[in-house]
């Protein structure tokens, strides 16, 4: 579904990604793990067209994404829940969801989808008219995910959904991620919390200073000596 091949990204003279290659198949949860600055977020930004690709290719459902502008990439069915949530804090919860559905024209189906989202996230329904900036961190993360779901993505990129959340909320968010997978959406998950990410992922890639250094089944990686030492605290 998503095929990244020999991806290079530069920030000025700094080579942030070095020939990163990986693949996400339909129905999977694939996770990219690695330390701070390993290039996880940069990889997602390059896929979504937010940073220019210097070399290599990104292919989504058979379409080359390199020359497309970011809003076109979303229209192809690629959602992105950015790091730090980045909800529109000046808009209401409902308006945030409307922005998620910005490019949709199927108004009848859209109405049903709002209902569905509100059933899945009852807290957002209660707060639909509230300014999004007044939500708690966990609610904001739910809104960010819900907002992205409104575009009906085939694949969602999720960047550090556990960041800054209390353990109980992290559990809740990860349960939601598994639900989204069960509902048929493919997920590419970036996490610093490697333990948690490996526990729900099918496959994983380990990034280190802009390179893929390890890859494999999530279960295998979770048990591998190297990964345990570097990312799982022994």
């Amino acid at each position: 579904m998503l095929k990244v091949e020999k991806l290079d990204v530069y920030y000025g003279n700094i080579r942030a990604l070095k020939e990163v290659s990986f693949e996400v198949n339909e129905g999977e949860i694939v996770t990219l793990i690695g330390a701070n600055g390993a290039g996880k977020t940069t990889t997602l930004h390059a896929i979504s067209g937010l940073v220019p690709i210097s070399a290599g290719t990104v292919e989504f459902c058979g379409t080359d994404l390199q020359t497309l502008s970011p809003h076109k990439i979303v229209q192809l069915g690629l959602g992105h829940v950015p790091e730090g949530r980045r909800i529109f804090a000046n808009l209401t919860v409902m308006e945030n969801l409307e922005m998620g559905a910005y490019m949709r024209k199927d108004h009848a189906q859209l109405k049903k989808d709002y209902e569905q989202i509100f059933t899945r996230f009852p807290r957002l329904k209660e707060r639909a008219k509230q300014i999004a900036g007044t939500l708690s961190g966990g609610e904001q993360q739910m809104l960010a995910i819900a907002r992205s779901l409104m575009s009906k993505p085939k694949l969602i990129l999720m960047d550090e959904p556990s960041m800054g959340l209390a353990p109980l909320l992290v559990k809740e968010i990860f349960a939601i991620i598994e639900e989204i997978k069960a509902a048929g959406t493919t997920i590419l998950l970036v996490e610093q919390n490697a333990h948690l990410a490996l526990s729900i992922a099918d496959r994983a890639y380990v990034l280190e200073t802009g390179r893929v250094v390890l890859q494999g089944e999530a279960k295998e990686l979770a048990n591998s000596e190297e990964v345990r030492k570097a990312y799982l605290g022994g």
Binding site: P70, H71, V74, M99
Partner: protein, 299 residues
Amino acid sequence: MGVFQQILQQMINGLSLGSIYALLALGYTMVYGIVKLINFAHGDILMIGAFIGYFVLTKIGVTPGTLIIAFLISMPLCALLGVSMEKICYKPLRNAPRINALITAIGLSFFLENGARVLPAIGPNPRVFPTLPPVTHHLLGVGLSRVQIIIFAVAVGLMLILNYIINFTKIGKAMRAVSYDKGASYLMGINVDRVISFTFALGSALAAAAGILFASAYPQVEPYMGIMPGLKAFIAAVLGGIGSIPGAMLGGFILGVAETLAKGFLSSQMADAIAFGLLIIILVVKPAGILGKSIDEKV
């Protein structure tokens, strides 16, 4: 005329002038909100809008009906001008340091002013703007002229429409989203370029309307007529809190009233100095402007 009447009279004059500043200030504040650029050529759109109104009204004569036609011609043309300005001059600089776009805006302003000066149809000499015959209504010993009523009604009407667009339409919501976080807006599938164009179109159309109103109140048009109202509207936008739409409206009214009160009661020569002095005081007390929010650094 008692003191009360005088104050009331100056308030009316001030609100009328202030509503023109407010219309113009909205363009500054919306563009700043979206692309973080002070569009110094915005005042010159007022001039071009006024000239388009001038050509229409001299051609077909002035009646309340033709005045509406003048608005309907001038506003879309200036909207188009604003969109082209952005596409040609500012868009290529979007990723350049902000100072580059600012200098470009100043250059563009000179280009429009002097370009108008050398155009044979416009030229350097002031022309008399065609106006409706003056009618003044008297209420409580205070005079209220027809042109003041028109200015106030048109300005408030346009602000209500703008308010509706920004708060209740899809593109308006997208404008607010883009002004809050452009990157996240891309990820929603919002065509950010189109939202930016729309913002320039809206701001420029309001400036065109302000131009016709300004020329109706001070019935003269010339290539440099946009400079002072442009500068004052910019100040009004900063005063209200740049980036804030209610702020721009409030700032415009405050500046207009302060200016006319200073003119009426203190000194007409010192009016601008007094109005700007007031601005300095407000900004010392509230650096982000009256309704502006000091933005927290995002982590």
